[in-house]
Amino acid sequence: MAAVQDSAVAVGAGAKARPAAQGRLAAIWTKHGAGYMFLLPWLVGFFALTLGPAVASFYLSFTNFDLIRSAEWVGTANYVRIATADPKFAASLKVTIVYVVLSVPFKLAFALLVAILLNRGIKGLTFYRAIFYLPSLLGGSVAIAVLWRQLFAGDGLVNSLLAQFGIEGPSWISHPDYSIWTLVVLSVWQFGSPMIIFLAGLRQIPTDMYEAASLDGASKFRQFYKITLPLLTPVIFFNAVVQTIEAFKAFTPAFIISGGTGGPINSTLFYTLYLYQEAFGNFRMGYASALAWILVLIIGLFTAFSFLTSRYWVHYDD
């Protein structure tokens, strides 16, 4: 197709006997210009809003920029402080990792379990699927975080329910040992979107594999362990990576439930919340930029690690 177009241009140029250079420019434009015209908004956005700011942020991370005075170069001081002398950084990293380690496996296990139940040809599949998906759609909003704050308050709904069984629950959100769990429960409650991806993956597994296996007398458990799980590993891997990155970036629930403090005693101080406090509460913009790059480093290391280990457990057909 491109060849047809090119020769048409060449013929046109020749007929009008334009100077060769101008003809070549016109040909280059016909060939590449349209692509760049369509790409223009994105290109502008990429340079002005992504690449430029990313470079600037890297520079700022070596300064003491505070939005008022002009930035002064401080070398690696920000990074040194992060690594050695910032207990809040250590606390926020710990909280975030605990949150990732607790919420992602539970969420994925739930999503997989429900997807397998739904995939057994039961009636009302679309109905159940819709109900289980609804929390994923609503869960990111402030309204749900507000609701959670009430549910797990000392006089909240959860404790009212527990009271009916004669159990007196603590104030979950204001107890440093339990507060992170309220956020984990909120995350697991939103298992709907990985569930849908699991369902789509399960549909890809040919049913004749199970037929053959059951003819050979393989038990249900064995079929799951030997057929379903291996064939589903690419989907599990995908969901695990996506959900982990999302969990590292979580912000709104912790902000709303702790009233922006990350308390009690930093027990819900997500990394992103600490970054926000430093940048927009204390206006330590240079320091917050360094925190942002550490986050990139952590997510990047995690992703690289996942991809490197994936070849030992993720099963690909070809």
């Binding site: 908004p41 700011p53 040809g121 909003s141 939103q190 995908f238």
Partner: protein
């Protein structure tokens, strides 16, 4: 294909292939129904709390209010210095402009990536995919400084203008996937007839891509409507607040004793999202299943 036909015609339905008794089917339904109730209970409880008389909110765990009373909605609506009508309007303006920006800018870029040939296409495509991986925290602070210098803080511009520059690379990716599935013969035939890239984009690609454009539009709307971080950073004047910022102010203000009003406004803020869930569920679920969307 023939295998599937044979097995559906001759073999018993899949349910019995795996040798499942009616009992275990009942058990599965029981488990799924129990799980559904447990998942929906907090939501329904909030909606029911929003129409309860004030003194009954905390005392009851049941979902049926003893009497229905919309006083909480009135109190909540006017619960802050600026009414929730204003917040709702602000949210709506930002969300609608975001939808327009995303659909236009992302479809332009997606068309270039999916159909046009130009030097550096694969390079830029890889860069575009790369931008999807970068956490926005890295660009946050310089972007803020830029918008502050432009005098855009406390306006909707920092939230809307980037969308017209296709800043949501995810939607480009979604559209590229869809555009690639449209038969090439269509645009090749149009090109033979002398149509340029613009006409092909406008007259062929866009009309054939309504499902993916709708999916992108709906997700844009929902994510923008729910967005908390962007407005938190850029909108500090209460008159410019979105509904999410309004809720946050409500929950943090001294009037937090008014849980009724808070639940009423929370319920209200979920209505548009619920509407899309009700009427466009299929598009949303297919969108997630095919692209593995994050939320």
């Amino acid at each position: 294909m023939t295998d599937a036909t044979i097995s559906t015609v001759t073999a018993p339905p899949p349910a019995t292939i795996s040798g499942r008794s009616p009992l275990s089917s009942t058990l599965i339904h029981a488990a799924l129904i129990a799980a559904s109730i447990a998942m929906l209970y907090p939501l329904l409880w909030m909606v029911s709390a929003s129409v309860r008389p004030e003194d009954e909110i905390f005392s009851s765990t049941s979902l049926w209010p003893s009497s229905v009373d919309f006083a909480s909605y009135v109190r909540g609506w006017f619960g802050l210095d600026v009414s929730f009508g204003r917040f709702t309007w602000n949210s709506l303006v930002i969300a609608v402009l975001t939808v327009i920006g995303n659909v236009i800018a992302c479809s332009l870029a997606a068309y270039a990536f999916a159909r046009l040939r130009f030097a550096g296409r694969n390079f830029w495509f890889a860069i575009m995919l790369g931008t999807m991986m970068i956490p926005y925290h890295v660009t946050l602070i310089p972007q803020y400084v830029l918008f502050l210098d432009l005098g855009w803080v406390n306006t909707i511009l920092p939230l809307v203008v980037p969308k017209f520059l296709a800043s949501d690379a995810f939607f480009i990716f979604l559209m590229v996937q869809f555009f690639r599935g449209i038969p090439r013969e269509l645009d090749e035939a149009a090109m033979m007839d002398g149509c340029g890239a613009w006409r092909i984009y406008w007259k062929i690609m866009l009309p054939l891509s309504l499902p993916v454009l709708a999916t992108a539009a709906i997700f844009s709307f929902i994510w923008t409507w729910d967005d908390f971080f962007g407005p938190l950073i850029y909108l500090n004047d209460m008159n410019t607040y979105t509904i999410q910022l309004g809720l946050r102010t409500f929950v943090d203000s001294s009037s937090t004793s008014d849980w009724g009003g808070l639940f009423a406004m929370s319920t209200l803020s979920l209505v548009p999202v619920f509407f899309f869930f009700l009427f466009f569920q299929r598009l949303l679920i297919e969108g997630i299943a095919t692209t593995g969307m994050k939320r």
